[in-house]
């Protein structure tokens, strides 16, 4: 029999409405699964008492006929980058030791108002800087997918804990943040659905900032429909974030009609990269065939500046990070390491509080913004960024959705690519370009690679056209019929 924690949100909602399941039972089922899954290290902080309290409130509302809708009583794991009032928030960094926010991020507040039950704060790469969840001060997360070689795989990153939690059925859904691929790439590695909305769709208020012109929160779920339901609960205009878009929210799930006949799907030739494994081309071709079979029209397109997106990202994101992370000074919150002067205290605190990858990016950022280099690096990168955005604009004059692979490989072993930052950065080669243009994207499990580990297919649509993305993603999901599960983490386990 399927246990409650293995349900999709849609299934759980129906069971809750029918009175076959209580929010407390559903939450307890997730908490039990979490208790057995300590080895994954998916959570930095578990909040079982808070979860049961909120589940009881959901049950009371449902009993009174005051359900808040599709998300009432649904357990959601929260990336530990969202500030949560009264609950430790670390960004997986030593420098935020003991930080308990006095306020709640808009996204988690919205989800709470929608009736969700937060089960805990999930592990991530330190300050969301990474693609393998190996830079966390709290240790790496293990991917629930395993092979016979006995090596643990990375879950991807930076939202690795959130992805692992959903893949191992520790939560019905999770939320993550995506700066250059941090929702979509772990979704691909863990065989789940991950969605990055249009920049401005979800408020960034109360989310620990990494690169403010790129950061965007989004859902990580078992199905495309569930992603639409969770996004509905997270998104919306927020006066507290001046980059939050003042646009109305459509009914995302209602856009899922199962019919994409005549939809134009663009295949960008620049995403075929030299030395890419054959399995990546294969999954991409499979995705193309599935769309064609469903009645879509396949259109070859060109995005000429694709190869420059990643180097552009590694100027823009570190520049913004070095400025955002200036706030960690040992004065107002978190870690403080004493020094004889104020400057020495700052330098000691930041030397001990930041990990190597964070230091690397802060230093690169400080360099590209420093006097004499600003025009050569930062301004140049922002100009290239304009060209990348222009490429997409031209492409979307021809097509409705762009299809690419999500990641250039399946999940690799923990410890690999650690001594070569650029090899690690290449993980995001397919996800970064759309991030540079602020576009909505969705990763859907497409199948298994040669090694038997999951591979995602990546869809990109026009700004604020998440509806087309969900409609196309749902059709792809049904065609792919991805039913594989990580051994030991589901089907009654």
């Amino acid at each position: 029999m399927t246990q409650a924690n293995e349900l999709t949100i849609t299934e759980a909602r129906d069971a809750l409405i029918a009175g076959k399941l209580s929010a407390t039972e559903l939450t307890q089922s997730c908490l039990d699964a979490m208790a057995k899954a300590g080895e994954l290290n998916a959570f930095i902080t578990e909040t079982p008492e808070l979860a049961l309290e909120r589940a009881a409130q959901s049950d009371a509302r449902i009993a009174k006929g005051e359900s808040r809708g599709a998300l009432e009583g649904i357990p959601v794991a929260v990336k530990d980058l969202f500030c949560t009032k009264g609950v430790l928030t670390t960004a997986a960094s030593h420098i935020l030791d003991g930080f308990v926010p006095e306020y709640e991020s808009t996204v988690t507040e919205n989800l709470r108002n929608a009736g969700t039950v937060m089960t805990g704060k999930t592990n991530l790469d330190e300050f969301a800087m990474g693609s393998a969840n190996v830079t966390s001060y709290y240790g790496p997360v293990k991917n629930p997918w395993k092979l016979d070689d006995g090596k643990d795989r990375v879950p991807g990153g930076s939202s690795g804990g959130s992805a692992a939690a959903v893949a191992a059925h520790l939560s019905l859904a999770a939320i993550g943040t995506d700066t250059g691929g941090s929702i979509r790439q772990p979704a691909s590695f863990c065989g789940i659905v991950g969605m990055k909305p249009t920049y401005g769709r979800c408020s960034r208020w109360g989310t620990v900032a990494f690169a403010s012109s790129l950061d965007q929160a989004g859902p990580m779920t078992k199905t495309v429909r569930d992603a639409a339901i969770v996004l509905q609960g997270m998104a919306g205009h927020d006066k507290k974030d001046s980059t939050s878009a003042p646009v109305d929210l459509p009914d995302f799930a209602a856009a899922i009609t199962g019919d994409i006949r005549g939809m134009k799907i663009g295949i960008p030739k620049e995403y075929r990269i030299d030395g890419s494994p054959a399995e990546i081309d294969a999954i991409w071709r499979k995705g193309t065939d599935m769309f064609r079979d469903a009645g879509a029209e396949i259109v070859d397109i060109t995005l000429p500046h694709t190869k420059y997106a990643l180097p552009t990202y590694y100027i823009v994101a570190p520049a913004e990070a070095s400025s955002n992370l200036a706030r960690y000074d040992g004065v107002r919150y978190g870690l403080r390491v004493d020094g004889d002067s104020l400057d020495e205290m700052y330098e000691n605190t930041r030397a001990e509080g930041f990990g190597d990858e964070v230091k690397r990016r802060v230093l690169i950022g400080a360099y590209v913004l420093s006097a004499g280099y600003y025009d050569a690096y930062y301004v140049k990168a922002q100009k290239v960024r304009s060209r990348i955005a222009e490429d997409f604009k031209k492409a979307f004059a021809q097509v409705d959705v762009i299809l690419t692979p999500t990641a250039p490989s399946t999940a690799f072993a923990i410890g690999e690519k650690m001594d070569d930052p650029i090899a690690m950065y290449m993980n995001d080669v397919f996800t970064v370009p759309a991030s540079m243009a602020g576009l909505p994207c969705l990763s859907v499990p497409g199948g298994l690679g040669d090694d038997g580990l999951p591979l995602g297919l990546h869809l990109i649509s026009k700004p604020f056209d998440e509806e087309t993305l969900f409609r196309a993603g749902d059709v792809l999901e049904k065609q792919a019929n991805f039913t594989a599960i990580p051994a030991g983490w589901g089907a009654g386990q």
């Binding site: 420059y308 107002r332 050569a376 140049k380 922002q382 100009k383 700004p463």
Partner: protein
């Protein structure tokens, strides 16, 4: 353009991160690899292109400049590693 150890020392001061002397040289070569790699952007023709300043094409909203919050020193100071209420404390700056 390449970073020598003196440049790394300078940007570490700008970034207020203490770097031990023996780490400067390996760090310089790591950062040089990354900077060398991003320099491929010089190939891109950006003549007449404006730098992107806003991801979403929208006008920055304005609001009235009025106080909407306050009287919450306790909450502001709640996470301070060192404080003498109602102040944050830092090492002596003025002798």
């Amino acid at each position: 353009m390449s970073l020598d150890t003196d440049t790394v020392r300078k940007i570490a001061v700008l970034a207020r991160i203490k770097i031990d002397d023996e780490k400067l040289s390996p760090l310089a070569s790591e950062l040089n690899n990354i900077i060398g790699w991003v320099e491929q952007l010089s190939e891109v023709d950006t003549d007449g292109i404006s730098p992107m300043t806003s991801v979403a094409e929208m006008t920055m909203p304005v609001r009235a400049d009025v106080i909407t919050d306050g009287d919450c020193e306790d909450r502001v100071l709640a996470n301070a590693p060192q404080k003498v209420a109602p102040y944050f404390t830092v090492p002596r700056v003025v002798e």
